[in-house]
């Protein structure tokens, strides 16, 4: 349940995000993937980062999104059964031997 003050702050945020060079939180959502892959053109990146500076909710959200992604990667990275890259030389030798056999 939001307090009247919190409700008013959200309305102010909603208005703020309609100003030039500002985006709403749901528009911000659509840029997250491209931002993390450094795929945003400079102007969109500036707009994205400006929103990040003024919006506590999106800042918290993005931090948790990044942490959960890092946890996913780390959980598989720690897999003791995961082998290193297959030795390319060995595989090439097997291929050559097979091709030589006809």
């Amino acid at each position: 349940m939001k307090t009247p003050m919190q409700k008013m702050m959200r309305r102010i945020h909603g208005l703020l995000f309609k100003l030039p060079l500002m985006i709403t939180c749901d528009e911000f959502e659509g840029f997250i993937l491209a931002y993390l892959e450094d795929d945003l053109p400079p102007r969109q990146k500036f707009v994205f980062e400006t929103h990040l500076k003024v919006c506590r909710e999106c800042r918290d959200y993005l931090a948790a999104y990044r942490t959960s992604l890092e946890l996913a990667r780390a959980s598989y990275r720690d897999d003791p059964a995961a082998p290193d890259d297959m030795p390319e030389d060995l595989v090439k030798a097997i291929v050559a031997a097979r091709k030589a056999d006809g």
Partner: protein, 166 residues
């Protein structure tokens, strides 16, 4: 190859079958291998394809709907997100005994169309175009699914991230 299969299908016996079938595909296809890509990359793709085929045959248990796991916005198009008090790092979270099991089980519970994209892009580190080609979907579809999968995973991991689980 075994590790790739295990990550995809999440079952030891099924992963062994995938690897066996993948090796059969490799030997059948060796003569046609044109060495434009690394052999290991080619073999990786073969085992991924075997994993995907196995998943399609397998009947999935109860899956959570992705719509219930996506972020919410109010009528002002502002995000609804509880404030984060603690901000533990992934490193400190990974030092806890339960973390890895919780993370793997939450990934396993993602709807398959999303889980596969997350595994191929974020864990197997395949490119967006390779994932699109493997799954026979567009690159923009890969991106949408990837972002939704990550968002859903973030939602599923919230109790862990907020320190609400052991």
């Amino acid at each position: 190859m075994m590790a790739v299969a295990r990550r995809l299908v999440g079952d030891e016996a099924l992963a062994q079958d995938c690897v066996q079938n993948a090796f059969a595909d490799v030997f059948r296809g060796l003569d046609g291998f044109e060495e434009r890509s690394r052999l290991s990359t080619w073999m990786h793709r073969i085992v991924v394809n075997q994993g995907l085929m196995a998943l399609r045959k397998q009947k999935r248990l109860q899956e959570i709907s992705i719509d219930d796991l996506l972020p919410a916005f109010d009528q002002n198009r502002c995000r609804i997100e509880e404030q984060w008090i603690s901000a533990e790092t992934p490193e400190s979270l990974m030092q806890r005994d339960q973390t890895k099991d919780v993370v793997l089980s939450k990934i396993a519970s993602l709807p398959e169309n999303y889980r596969i994209v997350l595994l191929l892009r974020d864990i197997e580190e395949m490119s967006t175009s390779d994932v699109a080609q493997t799954l026979q979907i567009s690159e923009s579809n890969v991106k949408v699914r990837l972002h939704r999968a990550r968002s859903a995973l973030k939602m599923l991991l919230e109790p862990l991230l907020r320190g609400e689980t052991s």
